[in-house]
Amino acid sequence: MIQQLVQRIVTGPPAVTLDQAGARVLGADPMDLVLHMEQVLDTFDPALPAIRARSTLWGTGEFSALAPPATAPAWDHLGYAFVLENTRVVQIMRRVVREYRSGEGLGVPSVATRRWLDTTEALLFNASNPFPAWLSTSAVRTDPESVRRNAYWRLFGMDLAFGTDDNRPHVYDKATAANITFVPLLEELLFELWQAISNLSNFSGVNQSDDDRIYRIAEQLTFILNSRRQSRMLLREELVATTVLGWMELTLSTNTPVVIDLRAQATSPGDRLKIIGERVGLAPHTRASSFFSMAADLSQVLRTIESGVITGPGSSWILYQTGGGGLGPQSRRVITEWSAATGKDLKIRARPVEVRVRPIETDGRRLIASR
């Protein structure tokens, strides 16, 4: 939501430059961001009864005139938050906040950095402001990171690549209904998409793209993702997760005041995070750059799959064609970075898919064909 809010400020009216828009969001009061988040959620999902006081409140916020259209959720898919959180950015920033709030070990923060600290504490670490961030946490589920981990597990069947800040296993409520087939399906889809992308400009040789298989895998992914979304479940959790990770991404997108105060100026978010990690003694994920690179593209690909817009083999091209509404560049980026992050080469099939044919009794012998 954060990056989309910056974009809406840029386009206006009145239109402003990107650095002006970024500074406006980065210097915003946390309560304004919280109120705008409620507004964005209500715009897309008015089925949830909006309490009058709350709707009156967000009308007073700084960004109230920048409500997005109601046609689609104006925030990233939970996959965006998952890959960004795997960089360990939240835990590193927790240490930054703790250091700044408890002493002057990192130096004296500037006024702008102190505002950033206020907002980060309110958005990420549950500081009351005047209510916890968007009611996704409570006395029952107090830890925001546990709430996000629970959502990742339910939607993707995946845990983060690390435990707690001090490397102990992170304990959270692990739901029994979880999409544990998500990763094999996604990787199979990415393999098929690579075949299709590499055959797009073929003029000779065999075309190995298989639109029907792409459609079937995408359909299966749509089913399992939507099965966790019944009655708009996980909607608020997704918005919270993508907003706080979006706040982290905005913080590292360029040399912002906190980056400068931490003397972590660099040319990419991954490098900035690495330097900040060194300052506070917690190394980020070694593939953090890959996670930053694919986060937005993965979000768009998953949103498209989940929308059910691919209705048959004839529309599978949406996922690999370039131009005309196709997501070819996004899929290609996800294939490349997912391979780099996981160490699996998705451009070659590790092993053929096993196909078991129904056993047939012939002369008392059981034949099982497989390939």
Binding site: Q3, Q4, V6, Q7, V10, L18, D19, A21, G22, A23, L26, G27, P68, P69, T71, A72, P73, A74, D76, S110, V111, A112, R115, W116, N202, F203, S204, G205, V206, N207, S209, D211, S253, T254, N255, T256, P257, I260, Q265, A296, S299, Q300, R303, T304, S307, V309, T311, G312, P313, G314, S315, W317, I318, Q321, G325
Partner: protein, 148 residues
Amino acid sequence: MSPKRSRTQDQEVEGDRPDEAQLDREVFDNEQVRVNLHALKRDVVELRLALGTVLGLEGISRVVGHGFSEVIAELLPLRDLIRRPPFEKLTEGQTEILAALSDALVRPDWSGIGRLDVREVDLGYIPHQPPPDQQHSNQTLDRTGTKP
């Protein structure tokens, strides 16, 4: 020639005909020339074929002679190897969904921004006197309500 020819007659005839050995030599020479000529012709054919292969003259001559239709007919099976079903045109609903998703997720490109400065408001009058444009509003908030 009569079989009962005299020796003198035979000698006269032999005197008019070329020498047999010379004749044999000429035949041999002719045969050599013929063989050489055949070999040369074969070489020429082979060279032409090689040259045609290298330069594509064979294709060109065929195209000139028979037009493109023959070449197209020969290449037709290759088309089946690369042919894919045409991309299905999206329905209006699908186009709307894709456009909405794309619009909703548009994000800025930060690659050209090297540094982001958040504006800091300079509250220069603390603890000094407020600037002149602030004095009036402060005075109206004065609890005493008295004018300076």
